[in-house]
Subunit: 172 residues, 6 copies
């Protein structure tokens, strides 16, 4: 029997409760969610501190409790928009629909004839990767903004120290 699958892509730096809310709501409409981890090749930078492998762990552990059947798969950036849909399709299980609010993602999938739906809404001011990373650097509380499992992983890899270090400008 064919399983209906949806594709959702993000950078997940880190995976937060906003993402978690979206994925759960997408899961209500399909059998499985294919989660693309964008900019998979990036890590150790102020806007992309975590490796693809670390982000795979975050998503897997966070969704384990939620019982959302999912695939969390790294998608490396490709420097050519015209190849991007083929690139995604070659690295993911077959999916039936894309959920996205990103205009470029929508345009590229639509040109390829793949159905796109608007992502479920969530409080974007509250849950934002940029805002969470800023809190991490400034030692403000960020833990209530991510699933517990994500906070545990960030602690285990000493992620806050890493983020703070790579965010400093050259010292002297």
């Amino acid at each position: 029997m064919h399983r209906k699958r949806a594709f959702y892509i993000g950078r997940f730096q880190p995976y937060h409760l906003g993402h978690n809310s979206i994925i759960n709501r997408i899961a209500d409409e399909v059998d499985e969610v294919v989660i693309g981890i964008g900019s998979a090749q990036k890590s150790h930078s102020p806007s992309d501190p975590f490796t693809a492998g670390e982000r795979v762990m975050m998503i897997r552990n966070a969704l384990e409790k939620e019982k959302v059947p999912n695939y969390a798969l790294p998608i490396e950036d490709i420097q050519q928009n015209s190849l991007w849909v083929s690139h995604v399709l070659s690295r993911t299980p077959l999916f039936d629909v894309v959920y996205s609010n990103n205009p470029l993602v929508i345009q590229l999938f639509e040109e390829a004839g793949i159905p796109v739906k608007q992502s479920p809404m969530y409080q974007r001011e509250q849950y934002s990767g940029t805002r969470i990373r800023k809190k991490m650097i400034e030692d403000n509380d960020w833990r209530h903004l991510v699933p517990d499992a994500v906070a545990d992983i960030i602690d285990e890899i000493d992620g806050i120290t890493r983020l703070k270090n790579v965010s400093r400008t050259d010292i002297d």
Copy 2:
């Protein structure tokens, strides 16, 4: 609580019962198995007919029945052996041990200080990707050599036609 994880890499063209036997035996010794899908960028060739996404599906569906906690993650080839371990580590969850019988894989992980164990044995003459692809091309029976879920996926994507076509030499 820390979960003990093992890493195992293969090309899985296709994922067969030999692989399945290895993964199950590794799973007896650790909490989770991180399965690297090598040569992830390859597909549509006689020795690498299936895309990374198709191989992710094969592994996931085959192991679903087995209840082996696993991550099946594409690993693209990198043209520099000296960078390969870092490449793998950046795309995978943390793991404690590598299972491999491949001398290059063993050497590279050992130089990096990561423990390597010999893979569990299986009947390599019987279960071999090369042999299975040859049977597929020659219309001999191959279905008993792969998990049922893998045969289903190959049928769904019309994989035998694809393999036969890309294996023909230029016609005239």
Copy 3:
């Protein structure tokens, strides 16, 4: 008999009447014009909406009426200035002279010992890719700024919709 050829490079996003005027004037001085389509790998972005193939069509169709013997050839960006002249030379027919007002292009060709002439002038405030793309996004009239053949192609590929979509910021 040797044909005298000139090389001219641009991004042509889109090909407009300023470009057309330059090429026509270069054509007065040589037998054939080799037109390099720069950033060939780019498309579907606010500053580079059209693919290399679409830009080839624009140039070819626009110049068909003008009877300017020309080659319109995609040139992908290369990340090393020191290799750029060799890169261009390997992808183009032999040429005798370069027409350019771009200081980097001039410097690189001159270091390689290839003669460079200043491009013919045209009204740069009037005819500018940036200005034309802005008009396209804002629904102001842009058709009088490009050759008729170019407007036809942009309509055929629904280029204005594409440009508008990829130029929107992330919606919510």
Copy 4:
């Protein structure tokens, strides 16, 4: 008015009368022929002696006398079959049909939903790049196997000397 276009790809090392015959016959069925010059990045090797730019010149000059409306466009190899059709489409004008006898090319375009027809026949034993390059290296006559314009270009670039040199094994 829409022009019907066909796509044909080859390496054209060199462009010979067999290719010329095919292109002419394809031209009978469409308005324009888009000619992809494969392995565009290769040159100066025994099997790929000529640069993409040199091959563009060969094709253009040979077809000038034939009055076949055509685009001769370099297509670089891409190491991923799953991206190859998108790669071709992004660098070429829109086309309606592909002519090919290459099983991989056929399979990839058919999976992408693009119509493929078998290439017109010609005497492949007689006209073959491999055979022509062998004749060039061994100082046997090859000129009757290529269009006159191609022989002229090979002379102009001293192509036989280049091919002989890059085909020698390391001397001592």
Copy 5:
């Protein structure tokens, strides 16, 4: 007998007396200094005017008088921070310690378990690549800020003309 080696990385655009002072002080503490020339692939741009080969010459000639045993080796940028340490290690002789004040460099080497020390201090306002290139463009005196050997090489390659040209904006 094992020689103690230190690694120091910079872009050296150009190599100036601040760098020279650091290298000399590092040389007091080790037997040999391995000097990584970063962004080796870059040249002919306003912030990176000199090729890797030119920078090798600058360093070699400047240090010849100083009698500091050293290796000056080009290190190309790699787009993945997680691979960067392996990349450096594969292109350099074995070293025992890294000297750096760059937070990213420090973080990456420390994650890899390689000891890092703070670089010796020097007058950064006085000796700065940015400041020296600005002086070069504006015809202010820069020669007292670099070793004599470096000034000689910049003259020999006509480096000031190159820097001025690539720093101009598009003329018309």
Copy 6:
């Protein structure tokens, strides 16, 4: 005063007495020898066991006793012959002449207008990288075929074990 420099390229897997003899004889004719370490990105394979950094060390230490002023610089493979000379020139100090017996190297430098001389002769049957690596794998004596300093480095990095391991076929 201008120093006359020669360029010589090899893979140096490992650097042996044949290479050493060539470099010494080239050094009789110029002031400095620029030694390109080809296939710099390769290591840990049966034909390319040593990293670029290890090969830099071999050459440097071997030539230290000989007092040959030299630069040993890694040159990564580039997949386009037409760009190769520019690639070499951008990573090396200026040189006046190339010494090579490799037909492709000769052809590429001659097309670029750079003088090429034949390399000095040596006993190629005796001193050959292939033959030395075979002896290493088979535990035959190889030490008399390389400079003492090279043997020391190979011991220090446990190079024989590495070569043997990466040369084994997959075990089971």
